[in-house]
Structures are given as structure tokens and as C-alpha cells.
């Protein structure tokens, strides 16, 4: 089902939680609402599920205006952060409950619930109570319960944040598999950028209620719309060095060292950030841009080097055959990709 959001505004008293939000979500896609806490992503989800209604704007499911339609009529399945499985019902009863409400005959209910349980791999624990399940198993049951009534839209509200690190990776792959198998349009809310990158067809990145960028995950990483997007995505976080533009050159730090990065059409004297990914640094002894090594640390198969560039400590993956020593002076330059120039005040992207 295609979802169209038109100029959604949600205000709580004086506080604007979502501001002029417009987006189109294509049928059958898994789209992540990503952002730090308080960015309005959960508010957005609650408006999609019908728990909250927008102050202004319209929500369309295909061609139906559902803006002020109540939850049960929208046909949405909702998975909560702490699962909200009914503790007094068995797994089977939990999965059956939405069908019981819809007055589906008992035999058919159980049949459908069992099929769902198989899909999410909990078919062996149908008679257990939620209290006897692990977090991951509870999550699977919650997904089965949301999917059993064949919703037009599946909504997942931070579904992985109560799981430990290893289980989280396993469950996000599971969610993707289940989503692809059922083909249900899915909206996934998270604050974890890695989770969002690994699972989504598209990501909507939000900040303070405003949509920042809506793109494919890789595109969000490679071509951030502004400084916030660049800062939010990537691990290790993107490096940021203060600089100023002069004659199309980006000069770094108080000593105005030439970064060798060029931008056109930026007025002289504009304060900027030079942001670059850790993998976009190249070791080049002949380069006039000098830096001083602080620390090298082995992270799995890669070696990450911390170094001081124009007075700021930054990090990069250096393919050096020789081991770099502390306080050693090195020459560096940047690759064409993964290097951006942002306005220091507005965050607008120049390069």
C-alpha cells in the first residue's frame, strides 16, 4: 500500500513535534524513520497508526484519506518497543487475539495464527506464556500478532532497543526476512543509524520534527543533504574540522592550512566545516597538508589512526605498511568521495 503524507503538522500545546512533513512511501517498501530522541519520529508513527491525529495536513493510504480515521479501521499492525504481549494469554492466544476481535471463527483463527507462528519461528512455543520467553522470542510473537490480521501497513516502534547487541542483529535480519516474505509495507522507527542502514529500502531522517533527508541508505551516507545528516550517519562518526573559504580554497584551523579541497561559488570568508569520512583519508608523505599522529588502534581487521589536523583530533583508516608512531608527522590528502563542506551556521552543504 502506498502512503502519502501531505504537510503534516502536529502540535502539543505550544510545542511543535512534527513540522510540515511531506513524504510518499511506496508500496511494499521498508522505510525507516530515523532520528535522535525528540525528533518527532514516534509522534509520526502514532499518527500513522491512528493513536494520534495530526493538527494539520493529510494522510492517504493509497487513495483513502485516513487522517482522522480511528486505528482499527486503518488496518495497521503495530509492534511496540516492549512488545506489550498480554501476560495472561499464551503465545497462541496472543496471536489469535486480533482475529478474535474481528470475530473470525475459532478454527480459522488458530489455523492462521499457527501459520504466522511458523513464519516468525515460534511454532514450538505456542502454549507458553510471554513471561517464559526470551526477549527475542517475545519480539517474534509481537510481530506475528501484528501481522496475523493481514494489515495494510506494519508499524514497528523501536522494536529492537530492548534486546542485547547480538540478538539485535539477528532480529533485524529476521524482521527484514519476514517483511520481504509477506511484502507488507513497513515503517520502522529507530534512533540507531546502523540498524536503519542495514534494514531499510529508504530512510527518512528527522530532526526536531523536520524531515532532513529521504533517500536510499547508501545515498544518505554518500550524499548527505546537510551537516546534521552527515553527523548522524556513520560509525566512526564523520570528522569535522573548522575552516574558512578563501578564493575557492578551504583553509583549516587558526593557521589557515590549505586542505587541498576546492569549492566554487562560496563567498570569501564564509565559516565552514570540512567534514570527511574516516575512510576518505589517504596517507601521502608528499602532501603539503601535515598532521600529527596521536594513537593507532586495531579495530578488527582495520587499523584506525587518530591524528591532529589543524588543532583538532580526527580519525582515519590509513593503509600504511609501516606502523605509525606517536607524535610522528604525516602528510595527508582526501579522496574525492566522502568529503563535504558545510556552512558552519546553517549546516547547508557546499560540496
Amino acid at each position: 500500500m502506498k502512503i502519502r503524507l501531505e504537510n503534516i503538522v502536529k502540535r502539543f500545546d505550544d510545542n511543535t513535534a512534527v513540522d510540515d512533513f511531506s513524504a510518499v512511501i511506496e508500496s511494499g517498501e521498508l522505510v525507516t524513520l530515523l532520528g535522535p530522541s525528540g525528533c518527532g519520529k514516534s509522534t509520526m508513527l502514532n499518527m500513522l497508526s491512528g493513536i494520534l491525529y495530526p493538527t494539520e495536513g493529510k494522510i492517504y493510504f493509497d487513495e483513502d484519506d485516513v487522517t482522522y480515521m480511528s486505528s482499527e479501521k486503518r488496518g495497521v499492525g503495530l509492534v511496540f518497543q516492549n512488545y506489550a504481549l498480554y501476560p495472561h494469554m499464551t503465545v497462541l492466544e496472543n496471536i489469535c487475539f486480533p482475529l478474535e476481535i474481528k470475530k473470525v471463527p475459532k478454527k480459522e483463527r488458530i489455523e492462521k495464527a499457527k501459520k504466522m507462528a511458523e513464519l516468525v519461528h515460534v511454532e514450538t512455543m505456542l502454549n507458553r506464556k510471554p513471561g517464559q520467553l526470551s526477549g527475542g522470542q517475545q519480539q517474534r510473537v509481537a510481530i506475528a500478532r501484528a501481522l496475523v490480521k493481514e494489515p495494510r501497513l506494519l508499524l514497528l516502534d523501536e522494536p529492537l532497543s530492548n534486546l542485547d547487541a547480538r540478538l539485535r542483529i539477528e532480529m533485524r535480519e529476521e524482521i527484514r526476512r519476514i517483511q520481504l516474505e509477506t511484502g507488507v509495507t513497513t515503517i520502522f522507527v529507530t534512533h540507531d543509524q546502523e540498524e536503519a542502514m542495514s534494514i531499510s529500502d529508504h530512510i527518512i531522517l528527522m530532526k526536531l520534527g523536520v524531515l532532513q533527508q529521504y533517500d536510499k541508505p547508501q545515498y544518505l551516507y554518500d550524499q548527505p543533504a546537510n551537516c546534521f545528516v552527515a553527523d548522524f550517519l556513520g560509525n566512526p562518526p564523520i570528522n569535522k574540522v573548522e575552516g574558512v573559504v578563501k578564493g575557492g580554497k578551504v583553509l583549516l584551523g587558526p593557521n589557515e592550512e590549505d586542505s587541498l579541497v576546492r569549492t566554487d561559488n562560496v563567498p570569501d570568508g564564509t565559516p565552514v566545516y570540512l567534514s570527511f569520512r574516516s575512510e576518505s583519508v589517504i596517507l601521502d608523505d608528499k602532501s603539503p597538508l601535515r598532521a600529527r599522529v596521536v594513537l593507532t588502534s586495531v579495530m578488527g581487521k582495520e587499523i584506525i589512526t587518530s591524528f591532529v589536523l589543524a588543532g583538532k583530533e580526527v580519525r582515519g583508516y590509513m593503509n600504511s605498511d609501516v606502523e605509525l608512531q606517536r607524535d610522528q608527522e604525516i602528510g595527508i590528502r582526501f579522496k574525492k568521495t566522502g568529503v563535504f563542506v558545510f556552512d558552519r551556521e546553517s549546516g547547508e552543504r557546499y560540496l
Binding site: S71, L78, F80, Y86, H88, I101, G131, Q132, L133, K149
Partner: protein, 312 residues
């Protein structure tokens, strides 16, 4: 090992002494004494003289028509007041738990009986129950029902007592149930609503089962307190009903002990011990049911641990 000085060794016991003394004096001694007296036949409290030891008091009490009436009245009272008050309290607690206008006002109304003297309020109930001028009979006639002689006639006495008993027990019950309701995560309601569940289904399929442990607790507490009912008799009837027809077990104990001259200490004690046994059995029953329901809810800690270990 260095032996600590004597005073150091007995210090902990000295700290415990006030508690031990008060419990012994005011709790243990009376219980033991009542049990002892229940086996002493023809006991005279002041002289300590008695004519025999055995089950004679029990035999007498069990064969006393007043005691039989007391047992039957008490059981009837418990079986009527506890379930009816529980059902009413669950419904009212649910209403009070909603976000409604004047919530504070309604809560105060329902909790008022708790802070008022039951004797004083009992007297005003006496007016409400009045055959000719009482508001209850006025309402009944409005509904086209014949007025009931609540107080003047033995047939109406018991009904009046039950109505008063239910009313008196409600506030405590509602408070306990409200605290139970507030422990239910509102997310369960949201989840059910998103799936399209209506109020009644949510109430019966989610609220009541999740409230079951509290309901259980309330039933037991109310059972124990209603088994011991007797002071409600005074404001309404000045005693066990108009025709000595409303004996309850505790009133019987009081009667043998205080009203009769000379007092029958042995009979009173035997009746008290029997009540103790009855209440004890019900308490044990309640604990068993609670343990069972906890297990049903999958809260068995050992079991959960076992599943978690198996997953590793």
C-alpha cells in the same frame, strides 16, 4: 578467640526485648490463654477454678442453637457480601480509573465511608432503612416495589445488614483494586484498541485477567474481615436483630463473654478457637490459589531461568 564481655553478648537481645515483650503480652498470651480456656470446663476467671478438662465446651457450643444460627448467618453473610461487593468494586474502580470529569470528587465520594465513623454512619443508615420515612423504601415504592420492613421485622433484618455491610466494605476494596489497576501498563489497552477491541472486550479479556491477583487478594481480605463481622449489628439493631435472629460468630463470642451473667468463658473461647480454625483454613486456601495463579501467569522464576539457560 577472645570472649566478648557479657554485656556485649546480650546487647542484641536487649534491643529486641520491647518487641518480644509486647508481642508476648498482647498477642501470644491472649491466644494461648483463649485456647487454654476453651478446654477448661466450668472455668471461673476470677478464681481460676474449673471443674474439668476436655472438649465439653466445644460439645456445648456446637449443640447450642444460637451458635448454629451464628455459623449459618456468618457464612451466608460472607457468601453474599464478598462476591457482590467485589463485583461492584471492580466496576467502580474501573470507572474511577478512567480520565473523567470531576474524578477527584467521585473518588472522595467513594472513599468517604472509610474516614467516617461506622457507628455514626450506621445510625444514618438506620434512618434510611426506616419502614415509613426511609429513603430506601421511598425509592422502592417509586420503582413499584412493595416497601420492605428492614429493621422492625426479622425477615428484613438480614437484607439490611448485607446492604450495609457491602456499603461499608467498598472503599477499602476500591482502593486496593485501583492500585492494582494503576499497575497495568496502559500499553496493553493501546495494543488492543489498535486491533479494534471495544470497551467491554478490553474489560473482560484484558483488565479483569490482569487484575486477577488483586481481585484474589481483595476477596481474601474481605472474607477474613466479614467472617469477623459483629459491630455492624449495633448501629442498626442495638444487638443481634429484633428477634435474636442475627447472631454472628463473633457476636456469639461477645454474647457469651459479656452479655450473659455469669459469663461463659469456656463457651466463648471454644467458639473463638473454631472461628480461628475457619479463618485459618480460608487463608491457607487463598495462599494456595495465589501461588497457583502466579504459576499460571508464567511468573515462576525458576522456570523462566531454565528457559533462558536452555537458550544459551
Amino acid at each position: 578467640m577472645i570472649k566478648r564481655p557479657f554485656i556485649e553478648r546480650i546487647k542484641p537481645f536487649l534491643y529486641l526485648l520491647p518487641f518480644i515483650i509486647s508481642v508476648t503480652l498482647f498477642t501470644l498470651y491472649p491466644i494461648v490463654n483463649v485456647i487454654r480456656m476453651s478446654f477448661l470446663e466450668g472455668y471461673k476467671y476470677l478464681t481460676g477454678a474449673y471443674t474439668g478438662v476436655g472438649f465439653g465446651n466445644y460439645e456445648k457450643v456446637i449443640n447450642d442453637p444460637y451458635f448454629r444460627q451464628a455459623i449459618s448467618n456468618t457464612f451466608k453473610y460472607v457468601l453474599l457480601v464478598v462476591p457482590i461487593s467485589t463485583v461492584i468494586a471492580v466496576i467502580l474502580a474501573n470507572v474511577l480509573n478512567q480520565k473523567i470529569k470531576f474524578q477527584g470528587f467521585f473518588q472522595t465520594c467513594y472513599f468517604l465511608p472509610m474516614v467516617t465513623s461506622s457507628l455514626a454512619v450506621g445510625l444514618s443508615w438506620r434512618f434510611m432503612f426506616n419502614d415509613k420515612y426511609g429513603v430506601i423504601n421511598y425509592l422502592l415504592t417509586l420503582l413499584g416495589i412493595d416497601p420492605v420492613t428492614f429493621l422492625g421485622n426479622p425477615s428484613g433484618n438480614f437484607l439490611a445488614l448485607v446492604i450495609f455491610g457491602i456499603w461499608a466494605i467498598l472503599p477499602n476494596t476500591i482502593i486496593l483494586l485501583l492500585s492494582g489497576l494503576q499497575n497495568i501498563d496502559p500499553l496493553y489497552y493501546t495494543a488492543a484498541k489498535v486491533d479494534g477491541a471495544k470497551t467491554l472486550r478490553i474489560f473482560f479479556r484484558i483488565t479483569v485477567p490482569l487484575l486477577a491477583p488483586t481481585i484474589m487478594l481483595v476477596i481474601i481480605i474481605n472474607m477474613i474481615s466479614t467472617f469477623k463481622m459483629y459491630h455492624e449489628l449495633f448501629p442498626l439493631f442495638n444487638g443481634p436483630g429484633v428477634a435474636y435472629n442475627l447472631f454472628t460468630v463473633v457476636y456469639y463470642i461477645y454474647y457469651e463473654f459479656r452479655v450473659l451473667t455469669p459469663p461463659k468463658y469456656g463457651y466463648a473461647s471454644a467458639a473463638a478457637v473454631m472461628l480461628l480454625v475457619i479463618v485459618f483454613v480460608f487463608t491457607m486456601l487463598q495462599r494456595a490459589v495465589q501461588a497457583w495463579s502466579r504459576k499460571e501467569r508464567g511468573e515462576d522464576v525458576k522456570q523462566v531461568k531454565k528457559h533462558r539457560d536452555a537458550l544459551r
